[in-house]
Symmetry: C2
Subunit: 192 residues, 2 copies
């Protein structure tokens, strides 16, 4: 089950630098790609930045629709994340090939990929010069969701199940996962 994440906490979903999935839809066409190159850009209203290569099918769908969803996948999905990063939506229906189930977004047409830990529904902030020059896309987060037990009250929770950890792509289909809470402010008031 997933729950709404307050928009003021949305940046926290990407703050740890996870590798994400970017899903998009325009008309009857949809696609999903993997993106290690992403980061938060602002707190409130939340904005994010992500690199979307010119060669991707996803990019055309984002340019046409002005929308996409960023999903934070987990270790259990690692092979799928590598897989969707190694084929093109021009050639295959990745949803069919990888057996992806989806749920509709609340604010955008792009789908939420099931099995992930969190989702950010995003509306492109048009910056055509940057998009052309650097493949750099900026977006405002218009809705955010997280799986119960993964993220609560603005914080990721350390999962007891290692297969529910976030992925951090090393390159070449290899990942580290994140875990092991280190609290440098245990004796002071957290800034939340």
């Amino acid at each position: 089950m997933r729950h709404t994440v307050e928009l003021r906490h949305a940046s926290r979903l990407l703050n740890t630098g996870p590798t994400v999935l970017v899903s998009s839809r325009h008309g009857v066409q949809q696609d999903v790609m993997a993106a290690a190159w992403n980061m938060p850009l602002d707190f409130e209203p939340p904005k994010i930045a992500v690199v979307i290569d010119k060669n991707t099918f996803t990019r055309g769908l984002i340019e046409a629709s002005g929308e996409f969803v960023i999903a934070v996948p987990c270790v259990a999905q690692a092979a799928m994340v590598t897989g969707v990063g190694h084929c093109s939506g021009r050639d295959v229906d990745k949803f069919e090939r990888f057996g992806l189930r989806t749920q509709p977004g609340s604010q955008v047409a792009a789908p939420l990929i099931e099995g992930c830990l969190a989702w950010l529904e995003c509306r492109r902030i048009p910056e055509p010069a940057q998009e052309q020059r650097y493949d750099l896309f900026l977006a405002e987060v218009v809705a955010a969701w997280a799986e119960d037990g993964a993220f609560t009250e603005g914080h990721w929770i350390e999962p007891s199940d290692a297969s529910r950890r976030c992925l951090h792509h090393l390159g070449g289909g290899r990942y580290f996962s994140s875990s092991g809470l280190i609290d440098t402010q245990a004796d002071t008031q957290a800034d939340s």
Copy 2:
């Protein structure tokens, strides 16, 4: 001991989404700040993107010098990373307060903070409109270094010593660290 990282591998140093330190120098003034909001932007020549708030002392030094160094700190440095993120170089000499030792960069005046796992010497790519609007700074990586035993031949190595893992900021001075290699392509040829 550190070694040179080939520029074609520099993006891998940030590919896993670590929280980094940004150090800068202009004339006799220097500063260092923490930045969870960073990402690679291109492979070769390597480019990176990082968010530098208008309120930081670091920002003025980067605008004046056109240069900075991104360093990838480790778990052993977590309290220092939180610390440099909670005070301003306008008020204190962070190098003195946190006992930071530095080494000179090879291509830029900004210092390399000792004890980190990797360093990227960066030259700002001027995009004044984006810098003003989004606090978004782009840079070309002109030299890169990694600690022996931390990163080799384009790949992070899983450290046996947990205090040498990368940090991923959750917010509020809390971090996850990255570890636990997951190889989704163990049975196929890696892409490098």
